[in-house]
Symmetry: C2
Subunit: 548 residues, 2 copies
């Protein structure tokens, strides 16, 4: 399983250095203790304030290095991937940032973390530091276990503790509140895959149609393997479990955590389900969806819940420096705006112009008559439907002629654009619709019809990106219109279109359009069907038969 | 391939609604045109300012809905996954947000986007709106192609355009600058997997040891399949390609984009490589690493480069409302702080205490003598190394006794803690180190040695989480120390320890420690090796032999 890493041994130190380099101006630093001591600290911490220190194994980014900064962590102690940092590393962090106000260690409830942070706390106390340890065990996956794991709900503790510390609260007050938050928070995770361990790989253990429920953040298997019933079912299951376990409150904060590789689309759908589900009204604040406490590239999510007090709410919604914190927002029903009235299809006001009607009908008939020939041509280099596509649009245009504003060229071109856009699929339909829309606008501005068509052609080339010589319908259309603009006859235009269409047969490589993907050898000697259609149209309007 | 979605048909609308619900207070709204018209707009846009509209197929989140807000996009037009939005959707967005100042459409260079946005622009112009279209084709994957794709470098255009519009620049100025940025930006992507199409799955097409270079953001295969040589090689290859193609400048902005499922660890390592590599010094600003223009859950990255002017720099570094924009930062060498001096191992000042030395040596000898018996016991429920672990620590402690501060109980306990932590692996070593560290601190505060040990035991229980009855060494240690604290004899302590150790054999389920993972049936009748070690120790100190 390839990954964008170098030696596994340097993975965490290289990550930290990259993170710090790319965080220029964020007032962060690290202790000079590589490789054993990997500690990121705020460089703007005031020792008169309680320091907030957290950490644990790496692989949970942005936790914890990404959470260091004003209003959140004072220091993050990073272990190797999924391995607790050493006592020395934690002690180094404590001694580096703890002033007279003391510090709070926020520790996720894993034996290794608890022990290493615990011993470091003992040592720091022996060295005269005031240290409080707060252990977070928010996971409700094992209902009977007296020692639940610490998972993403730890972010609630980080945020609220960081807020109080920043405001200058005492150590006792900060630690007391942190313990309250830790105790009140509940979390549960669900995943569809395990995670990829650097240098090792991924264990494919979740069968299709199943999901792991109650998984850990270190690749530990879920406690239950459940049937997976999409986002709706997942959101219902997770929120029901949480609301059955959480303490009663009038309102809650919900944290929706991406465990790694879940797409933003999925996270948005889950947010929608959670906020509109049976417990949705109880959610007063939502944090995320965001990747906060990940498990490498696990395709999964976790949901955490905290009963809110006014104090917690104030602490959660305060601004912080770390960009990884997505904010805590009050869920809102999506505000909607009425569609602009121009979008509603408006009835055209029909008007008459016998000459225009007659010529358009002739043009449509010519294109309808070309259907089979163009399909046969297209089959040699494409999927054989050019003739049918064009004929279908022509039939539709002919059928609508009586309802069109024929008396005004600008409106007429606009109406042609509308029918083409509705009935002619693929890029060609949109391209011709662009041509006629722009031609309609030019005509509306007073240009004559040939100049208007030329203006439309220019727009079409601009949007389509094709130029003469690129083996498209433009190779016939552009010279034909140029003849008309120069005041020459339909016959001259037809000759020009024919020369252009024939030339496409000698163009070895298409530079635009679908033929760009066809090998040159397959194109040799075959004219482009679009250009051929244009040539046939002009020849037909000039009285020449379709059967050359 | 399971995903956290419901019906594929509602994926994008459910995502948008979830995104909006979770973005409460962000002054966003959507047009009421589901399912065909999926447009997210700023509700605080002032029509006197140029509107900045972008969009395209979905699956690139946070682009584009996540980029709507003050200082960036005025509206995002969202198509289905990897499919251009319709002309009507784009027109609706234009008509909804465009005032007298006009609007700029930022379009990634794909035929579908170019055509649908183009025709919508034509229609809006016909309706009297001033519309400028800026097409972005920053991808340098196909060196010869006249129509490069638009990829993540489009974010540079969004940001700079949004900044100018927010400051009230004229339409001509905004569009002119947008075109300059679009023309100057170059991007290239590399991936190790394809992406998972909702409801379809993932094509596993990248062989192990290879990477796709020059891939698109819609699952299009890379232009080249290259040997993958880790983060260092990848960063070198990508930056070399970009710097060979980009215009000459004194300094550049670099955007490091996560295409979806790349871990934060990998992104940090890549940032480190790019910023310390041969072109690193030319990078004046870095945007990311962040997921900005993703390709669902693709495990890959793209790098974009923009030659900087002072104006571009000012625009890129300005604050914006959308949280998805990670800021543009000036790369910095990581600031380091010296390790606190307490971390350096300090030489102990040896001192003498014959009685303590003699008793400690006896204790060590007893534990060393128990090695085989404890190993045999441990083998029945664990991995058979408890005896060796304890004996090894005892041997080391005995060897260091002459260098220890024996005259002062507080320092002595602290020194014991230090040697245990260094030499005794596993949780037990850290737990005993915690016990002795806390005991040392209690002794230093004037407590006698039995009370100090009891204080240490309490700390150990706090951090380890085990209580009497949990089938650990505490079941022997706690009653033995209680006897000593009560002023009773070593003999009484030994009896209490033995009773506690024997009781562990009847405890059917371990609640803490490694045995918690062993089935009850396998534990029946076997005492816990740690508790047995404690009982043996006290019995030995009481003059009883090890061979009961």
């Amino acid at each position: 399983m390839a990954q964008f890493i170098n030696a596994k041994e340097n993975l965490v130190t290289e990550y930290i250095d990259g993170f710090l380099r790319a965080s220029g101006g964020s007032r962060l630093a690290r202790l000079d203790g590589y490789p054993n001591i990997k500690v990121v600290i705020r460089s703007d911490h005031q020792p008169s304030r309680v320091a907030v220190i957290s950490g644990g194994g790496s692989g949970h980014e942005p936790a914890h290095a990404g959470l260091v900064g004003k209003g959140m962590l004072t220091a993050a102690v990073c272990g190797e991937v999924f391995a607790s940092p050493s006592v020395d590393a934690v002690l180094a962090a404590i001694m580096a940032v703890t002033g007279n106000a003391g510090c709070v260690l926020i520790v996720k409830n894993y034996t290794g973390d608890r022990l290493n942070f615990g011993l470091a706390a003992e040592r720091a106390r022996a060295l005269g530091k005031k240290v409080e340890v707060v252990v977070v065990g928010d996971d409700i996956a094992h209902p009977g276990l007296p020692q639940p794991r610490g998972v993403a709900g730890t972010l609630f503790v980080h945020k609220i503790t960081g807020y109080l510390a920043e405001r200058g609260a005492s150590l006792a007050s900060v630690a007391g509140t942190a313990r309250k938050v830790a105790k009140a928070t509940v979390s549960i995770g669900m995943s569809l895959t395990s995670c990829t361990l650097p240098g090792i790989g991924r264990e494919d253990r979740v069968p299709l149609g199943k999901a792991e429920l109650g998984l850990g953040i270190h690749g530990e298997p879920g406690v239950h393997l459940v049937d997976f019933a999409g986002a709706h079912g997942a959101a219902q299951m997770l929120s029901k479990m949480l609301f059955e376990r959480v303490g009663r409150a009038a309102r809650y904060a919900l944290l929706l955590n991406n465990l790694g590789a879940t797409t933003a689309l999925e996270m948005g759908v889950l947010a929608n389900e959670l906020l509109t589900g049976p417990f949705g009204r109880k959610i007063k604040l939502i944090v995320g969806p965001a990747a906060l406490m990940t498990s490498l590239d696990m395709h999964g999510v976790s949901v955490s819940l905290l009963p809110l007090t006014r104090d917690f709410e104030r602490a959660l919604t305060a601004d912080v420096a770390p960009h990884a914190w997505p904010g805590a927002r009050r869920p809102e029903k999506p505000a909607t705006r009425k569609l602009p009235r121009e979008i509603a299809v408006r009835a055209m006001k029909p008007s008459r112009n016998a000459a225009l009607k007659e010529m358009t009908e002739r043009a449509c008939d010519i294109l309808i008559a070309s259907e089979s020939a163009l399909n046969r041509l297209d089959a040699k280099t494409g999927d054989g439907d050019t003739g049918s596509t064009i004929a279908g649009a022509a039939r539709n245009l002919k059928a609508q002629l009586n309802r069109m504003p024929l008396a005004d060229p600008g409106s007429f071109f606009g109406a042609v654009s509308g029918t083409l856009n509705q009935t002619m699929g693929g890029s060609s339909g949109v391209l011709l619709a662009i041509l006629f829309a722009a031609a309609g606008r030019a005509a509306g501005e007073g240009k004559n019809w040939t100049l208007s068509l030329q203006a439309g052609l220019r727009r079409m080339m601009e949007y389509g990106g094709a130029r003469p010589g690129d083996r498209t319908m433009i190779d016939a259309l552009e010279p034909a219109i140029a003849e008309l603009v120069a005041g020459n006859s339909i016959a001259a235009a037809a000759r020009a279109a024919r020369a252009g269409a024939d030339a496409t047969a000698r163009m070895q490589q298409a530079r635009a359009g679908r033929s760009a993907y066809v090998a040159a050898a397959n194109l040799a000697g075959i004219p482009d069907p679009g250009a051929e259609a244009v040539a046939s149209l002009f020849e037909g309007l000039n009285g020449q038969g379709p059967d050359r």
